[in-house]
């Protein structure tokens, strides 16, 4: 036990110092918890989300925040859930302990779901800027929201694009057997089939794989009009490359996980012509997109993916507090559920489950080495 003593002392010191910081005017502080994987393979995306929250907080504080007649200040408490479900519940508990008024997060569906029970138990509203699994809002909790289109909505748009724009009649699907990849692939499959496309193959890979030649060859033998991939850029890039090396010339369509600059880097010249969707409008079409890009890049550099959404999620929380005139979750939660506001990403309002209403989905194509929004 002697080993533990200095450790405990150090921990206590850190805790004390953080307590000391927040004590004096704590009633005038709005605490927003921001949770994402800040370390680990997805840390670049997690950091991006966190920066969105911080940008929103800075903006609110700069313009002065008055809630219920009191001048207030937004404080962001960032936590790292390492994209691990068990860690997610620990940090959720931590944020609840620290008395947060609202949560922006988590990044993944796999972490948002277990954490949502803890927030719901404490009545704290949670808006995920990026969890797309339908089950997240399907649990019946009143406190769960998201500002991003879910797999259902995105799958529908993807299928529509594949059928109507690309005129694909035969389709092959690959998914990476993660909650994200499988979720979006299944929704796409459902809608594509309903729209009359024939599914000629459904193959699988993993989020650690680098060799896709076997499944691609198998698909090649069935010669579909389109290959759809549900998964992340790290696999999508090499997959695209191997596809072209195998002499497969059909269209390649991915979802938001594939739509990153990383994809283009990894696929090299083979990336040209690939399609992918992303929830929401393209940045330059977002109502506040241009301004957001300028502000964000000036402060944090390139936007990765979901920072506009985490920005909006923060704004939605604070607007609901303003309208309710209270930072008490119990008071502003009903207001949040009915909120109508214009965010950077578009109009924000929620349906009964907490999903965003009228979520837009945009399709992109790689042209001349970068993602270009299709009209």
């Amino acid at each position: 036990m002697t080993m533990l003593r200095p450790l405990l002392a150090a921990m206590a010191a850190i805790l004390l110092s953080s307590c000391a910081k927040q004590n004096p005017d704590s009633e005038f502080v709005v605490r927003i918890g921001s949770v994402a994987p800040l370390t680990g393979p997805q840390s670049h995306l997690g950091k991006d989300n966190d920066n969105g929250v911080r940008l929103a907080a800075d903006e609110i504080n700069a313009s002065g925040l008055v809630i219920g007649g009191k001048k207030m200040r937004v404080e962001v408490l960032s936590e790292d859930d390492q994209a691990d479900p068990r860690t997610a519940t620990i940090v959720a508990q931590k944020l609840v302990d620290e008395g947060v008024n609202g949560i922006v997060g988590h990044f993944n569906s796999g972490t948002s779901i277990p954490a949502s029970r803890i927030y719901s138990d404490s009545g704290i509203p949670q808006i995920s800027p990026s969890a797309t699994a339908t089950t997240y809002t399907g649990q019946g909790f009143e406190t769960t929201f998201r500002v991003v289109t879910n797999d259902r909505q995105q799958g529908e748009a993807l299928a529509k694009f594949a059928l109507d724009t690309l005129h694909a009649r035969t389709i092959a699907i690959i998914d990476d057997r993660t909650a994200y990849g499988q979720g979006i692939a299944d929704e796409f499959e459902k809608d594509a089939k309903a729209g009359g496309a024939a599914l000629v193959a459904h193959e699988f890979t993993s989020d650690h794989a680098t060799d896709f030649t076997a499944i691609l060859t198998s698909i090649k033998g069935k010669n579909p009009d389109l290959v759809f991939y549900g998964g992340m850029d790290a696999q999508a890039g090499p997959m695209m490359k191997q596809m072209r090396n195998l002499g497969m010339k059909m269209a390649f369509l991915g979802a938001d996980g594939s739509k990153s600059p990383e994809f283009i880097k990894l696929a090299g010249t083979a990336a040209e012509g690939a399609y992918a969707s992303a929830p929401g409008l393209p940045l330059d079409k977002m109502p506040g997109g241009k301004a957001f890009v300028e502000k964000f890049t000036a402060k944090y550099g390139k936007i990765q993916l979901y920072s506009p959404y985490s920005f909006d999620a923060t704004m939605a929380l604070v607007s609901a507090m303003k309208q309710a005139g209270s930072i008490d979750p119990a008071r502003y939660l009903p207001v949040l559920a009915r909120i109508k506001m214009d965010g950077v990403t578009g109009p924000i309002s929620f349906d009964r489950k907490g999903d965003i209403l009228h979520g837009a989905v945009t399709l992109y194509q790689v042209r001349n080495g970068s993602w270009t929004a299709l009209p």
């Binding site: 193959e203 699988f204 030649t213 076997a214 499944i215 198998s218 090499p238 990894l266």
Partner: protein, 307 residues
């Protein structure tokens, strides 16, 4: 038919990669009776070093193969140094300890290498600059690229080279003696410590080459790329008969073909109940089956159980 041929080619290329890595396992296991869990991660180090060099030189205007060559010549000594250090620090002190001890340190070394690599090269998937031509040739309706040919050729050459090194040279004699019985080898004037170090360093050099091939072929490198690759390669080594150089090659090829064919055809055969989603399971099933029915592997004679 061309699809079948393509799957066969895919399998052979994948299998050659497994073989390359399996050679290192077999070499070290043969001499020391130790599964070097960290071998796959040395492959990763090889890939990372090659990639770093290739990135530095990609704009220099040097021809692609030359850049790759320079990368490999950097990676080999780097991996040799890593291998030497691992053996000295983590394995040698435990040479006479109970079996469990070096196995546990081996796992520790593997974790350590991965995380150090992560700190040096970051968490992201790194893309390998496109320095080799991507042109493919058509062979009976299937396509094969230059780098695929290179992989198959080099793993064959390595196997042949290693095999004759062990059969025909003085060093090989000393290695065989050490493998047979280290005490007797010592009596015969063999410096067992040196031989084990050399074996380790040799295995690491092979790993460097494998790393170069893998990252150039897939165009990607990642700090945890070595672990699964290592497991598969180990399976290949066991399948062929661990400790047996030709066995590693045979096991690698077989495993590669099994995986390709499995991923390609299992779905159709089982009516979609099991398909490519079980691709990563094949290797483990093969491993378990081999260990139950032929623990000595295909080309091994010794029975893989305690006497």
């Amino acid at each position: 038919m061309d699809i079948f041929l393509q799957q066969l080619i895919n399998g052979i290329v994948l299998g050659s990669i497994y073989s390359l890595v399996a050679l290192g396992y077999t070499l070290v296991y043969g001499i020391m009776g130790l599964i070097n869990f960290a071998h796959g991660d040395i492959v990763m180090v090889g890939a990372m070093v090659t990639l770093t060099v290739a990135r530095l030189l990609s704009d220099s205007g040097l021809p692609g193969p030359l850049v790759l060559g320079i990368g490999m010549l950097t990676a080999i000594p780097a991996c040799m140094a890593v291998g030497y250090l691992i053996e000295r620090i983590a394995y040698r002190p435990l040479r006479n300890a109970p079996r469990l001890a070096p196995l546990i340190t081996a796992i520790g070394v593997s974790i350590l290498l991965q995380n150090l690599a992560m700190m040096i090269w970051g968490r992201e998937y790194l893309s390998f600059p496109q320095i080799l031509p991507t042109r493919t040739m058509a062979v009976g309706g299937a396509s094969i690229s230059a780098i695929q040919l290179l992989i198959v050729a080099s793993s064959t050459i390595m196997m042949a080279g290693l095999s004759s090194l062990i059969r025909k040279t003085r060093l090989g004699n000393a290695m065989r003696a050490t493998a047979q019985n280290p005490e007797v080898a010592t009596l015969m004037g063999v410096n067992v410590n040196t031989i084990i170090s050399i074996t380790f360093v040799l295995g690491s050099a092979l790993a460097a080459v494998a790393g170069m091939m893998v990252s150039a072929y897939y165009g990607i490198a990642h700090y945890d790329m070595g672990f699964i690759l290592g497991l598969k390669a180990f399976t290949a080594a066991v399948l062929g008969g661990i400790g047996n150089i030709e066995g590693a090659m045979l096991g690698g090829l077989l495993l590669g073909i099994i995986e390709s064919m499995g991923a390609g055809y299992l779905g159709t055969l089982t009516g979609g109940v099991m398909g490519s989603n079980y691709q990563d399971v094949f290797a483990f099933f093969v491993l378990i089956l081999v260990l139950i029915f032929r623990p000595s592997g295909l080309l091994g004679e010794r029975v893989g159980e305690r006497p």
